[in-house]
Symmetry: C2
């Protein structure tokens, strides 16, 4: 019944489902199993960047643009998932929602969910995937997943999205910021937000320089998909055709550059579909989700098989250096006495 | 024999052991099991901070200071583990080593190990812990573990060290940089390096303001140890006595402020030992290490029990939305047919 209501676009039902997914309740799990068949329709867009780059405002503005297209195109339904695992006292998630409410409040075509907790279902990444599935099955055309930090964040946004936006801002350490681990490997589109600030030329030059340097290497050899080849898409399928990440400027607070960004996001979806990479990214995404769930379930089953007293006794012996961690693992997995 | 040589301070043997640990070889594992009994003597110091804060130079200078104490004190033996999981083309690890060589080359009391790979033994964190154990058993007095990124890095340095240094630099986004997730919760000592640069006052003011705001809350309620209470140290042991993270200025390239930093690191060790927190951190560290190894071993055992063909068949059904990820996990764990 919850499943039917979610499929029919009932917002209250979706909200309840998302809460159950976050809490990893039995009902939530069952609903996800039933809904999964209806997933796969949404374009999943990851938005990542350091704090202070204004990515929340950008996501807000993107959603507004999808709801009110300037050129008379059809409005698209947008889901937003903001992942913010930072400390509660920074209040990021709560403030972010308040700012968003102003422009998008009351629009039934937008659904915003902030997640400040780590989730219980196999960590933050697994919970985020499950929330994406729920929104996908609910029929949203685009789902924007906003996370802090690129490459080394707790949620690897690139393994979760079809299109990854990396947001930078002038003056945030510029070249140093850009060299940051993994940033060029995950960006499908680079956005310099707050482009009305001083230093935007330096930031753009640094980013373009790095792209030029790294592009042929990263895309041919270090791509995120190199370790998960699709069975039915031979690499040659994609040969000679590759995506050069554009560098765009935006001023999210004023809406400048957002229509160009929307056009580039659409162009990237077309590229993915024509090149066969869409299926490869789908595979990567699902395998990564499966991986998280499998590990969580392995741990859960093991925990059920062992007594707390046994675990504590092993830890005590470890503390006394009476037992190495490797021997401790053997004792814990073979269920033997201490 | 390798174990004896490592214990006797043979550098070649230690280097070989560390390589075997990184490769997770059978001999390396066995040596760690034999050596573990001799660990627990070193003061483990985590050094973390964003790229560009100069933390490699600071670690270099700290090591030099421990080797050449100004006040006629005894020189201490220092191990350094630099964890840099960034892309190979940034070349961070290699350059870093070259710079280090200049000051510390030929000193038998210093051992430096860079780790650019992710390791195989249950991920980067587990490999780092194992390298720390090997150096600890080899008799180093201090082990400095340098990692990129605070709080959200791949290696949670706070669960690996007794004392965590968080390194900042003026002008790297200042207050924005400081609010970064988790930074205040893991810092035992805050270091503003490059303190001869403009804007150092702003950085210090921002950090002190945040500490004042967050300190009573984070240390009483959100401490990293709150979820892993020690059995034999009741929380009241520590009551009324707590560590206020000092904010220090250094200019690593010139050595300025380094002797004060060394004194504060020693003062922190005394605080840990007198308050009973040392044992709590040891427990957290060992439990975290056990956790990584246990998960890796659970996954390895599962992988041995299942055929690739079965896994691929399940993934194909997942791709077709014929099977939800949750049902897929059930199929994979129960070893049934597809």
């Amino acid at each position: 019944m919850l499943v039917d209501a979610v499929r029919q676009g009932n917002r209250l039902a979706l909200g309840r489902l998302l809460t159950q997914v976050e809490n990893d309740s039995e009902e939530g799990r069952q609903a996800l199993v039933d809904l999964f068949h209806y997933t796969g329709g949404a374009h999943l867009i990851g938005v990542t960047g350091a704090p202070g780059t204004g990515k929340s405002s950008l996501v807000n503005r993107l959603a507004y643009h999808y709801r009110h297209p300037a050129d008379g195109a059809l409005a698209r339904r947008v889901g937003i998932i903001a992942v913010d695992p930072s400390s509660p006292f920074t209040g990021g998630a709560i403030l972010g929602d308040r700012v968003r409410m102003r422009d998008l409040a009351g629009d039934p075509g937008v659904f915003i969910r902030s997640m400040a907790s780590r989730g219980s279902l196999g960590g933050l990444a697994a919970t985020t995937s499950a929330l994406v599935d729920a929104m996908d099955a609910a029929g949203f055309d685009l789902i924007l997943v906003e996370t802090v930090g690129a490459g080394q964040g707790e949620v690897d946004v690139a393994s979760l999205a079809h299109t990854t936006l990396v947001v930078e801002a002038p003056g945030l350490g510029d070249d140093i910021q850009a060299i940051k681990a993994g940033i060029l490997e995950i960006a499908d589109i680079l956005v310099i937000n707050k482009a009305d600030m001083a230093g935007v030329e330096n930031t753009e030059r640094a980013l373009r320089g790095l792209l030029q340097l790294a592009h042929p290497v990263t895309h041919l050899m270090h791509g995120v998909f190199s370790h998960a080849p699709a069975q039915d898409e031979p690499p040659s399928h994609n040969e000679g055709q590759y995506w050069e990440p554009p560098v765009l400027r935006t001023v999210a607070t004023e809406g400048t550059g957002v229509s160009t960004l929307v056009a580039e996001i659409d162009r990237h979806r077309e590229y993915l579909q024509e090149s066969g990479e869409w299926a490869m990214r789908e595979r990567l995404r699902l395998v990564s989700q499966l991986d998280h769930l499998l590990k969580a379930e392995l741990v859960a089953r093991w925990q059920m098989s062992i007594s707390d007293a046994h675990v504590q006794a092993v830890i005590e012996r470890l503390m006394k250096r009476d037992l190495s961690p490797w021997k401790a693992v053997e004792l814990l997995l073979n269920g033997g006495g201490t």
